[in-house]
Symmetry: C2
Subunit: 222 residues, 2 copies
């Protein structure tokens, strides 16, 4: 099993709830986290909050390209609107590195959430196209940001589907899920099957509204 | 809560593993099941097996149109290739009735399973278009046929996502899931979000291959 505590994990979109929540959990698990932001100051301000809340000393905020350069593995948790532009801006720094895409291209209207069509098939496949020299995976789409950021919740009680065509890369990402208490990384198929995993977040949002919950999923019989 | 034991459930594709498995479980739960088939003889042969295995007297096999006419609620579990033609052939008999679509439009190649594009968005939306006077829902996509047909498995241990825009209809379908021991019906969103639920079956097949499992899902925090 990969010792993920030796990795430096870069988080793009670390100032948003999903990125911040995972950064917090990883920092608390003893993993070095670098938050990437368009503004180094804003990244560092969030990093200071993460250090404080997680009770750790190691968490930096950097401008996106510097964060990409400093990281071994990066999580992409930016809004869908900024996805392509961000990835293009850090392509060189991500050569050879594992990229974890957790972006959900969703729209909202009066009837609630729905999946947006994506020309490449999915956000993860768009990442694969824009970062041909990186090892692109998709994961962490269904984890509640509310639960992640609430450290009084000592066990997440949820599985993380990890998709990708590079077995070693998906094993590392599964280990990054396993590093968070009560979370389990489960291989979830090839990257070409990422669309439905991203889109399923619309269903979870509908479930949350109906049941007033912060729903996630568990894979049974595994 | 709907008393589903008063319903007659028609199953199209009852000679296939998923339809036969659900027919078996419903029959065992005391629900009257009518199996639809292109051939009344083949339907009746499967019905005889279901009666025998479930230890019940009430389960008939009929030609599709007759099964549709006899049923209050129907499950559509036919191969995707025959989906549109079947629905068109029973449109009149299904007016005003609840239709549960559980068809997964999937393709397979050397890299395994993948979701097929569907012009209407999903099999369920195709059903909605072909059956404008029926109450179309989507459910039971992720239930293992192997587990369903193995009655030594006394608890299914899995959730069933039920999608649809008609609240009363989805409540009846949820109750039909709840009628099977260890199974729970969970509202899963509007019908326009059915594509990813159908397509997710490709991921479950990939999971089954990797982990040598019969995977399903549980929704957490609900």
């Amino acid at each position: 099993m990969t010792d993920v505590t030796e990795l430096t994990v870069g988080v793009f979109g670390g100032t948003g709830p999903q990125g911040r929540g995972l950064a917090l959990r990883w920092a608390r698990a003893g993993i070095e986290v670098v938050l990437g932001s368009r503004s180094a100051e804003r990244g560092e301000a969030t990093a200071a909050e993460v250090r404080e809340q997680a009770g750790v000393e190691r968490c930096r905020g950097l401008e996106n390209a510097a964060a990409a350069a400093a990281a071994d593995v990066v999580l992409v948790a930016v809004p869908w609107e900024g996805h392509a532009a961000l990835l293009e801006s850090v392509r060189d720094q991500l050569v050879g590195k594992i990229v974890i895409d957790c972006v959900n291209p969703l729209g909202f209207d009066k009837q609630g959430p729905y999946a947006l069509p994506v020309e490449e098939g999915s956000a993860a496949q768009q990442a694969e196209k824009l970062l041909p020299e990186s090892r692109v995976t998709a994961a962490f789409h269904h984890v509640s940001a509310v639960h992640l950021t609430d450290l009084s919740m000592t066990s997440m009680g949820t599985d993380v589907l990890v998709l990708g065509d590079d077995r070693e890369a998906t094993d590392v990402v599964r280990a990054l899920a396993d590093a968070i208490p009560g979370m389990r990384g489960v291989y979830g198929g090839r990257l070409r099957n990422a669309h439905q995993v991203e889109a399923f977040t619309a269903n979870l949002i509908a479930i949350n509204r109906r049941y007033k919950a912060h729903a996630g999923i568990r894979v049974t019989d595994v």
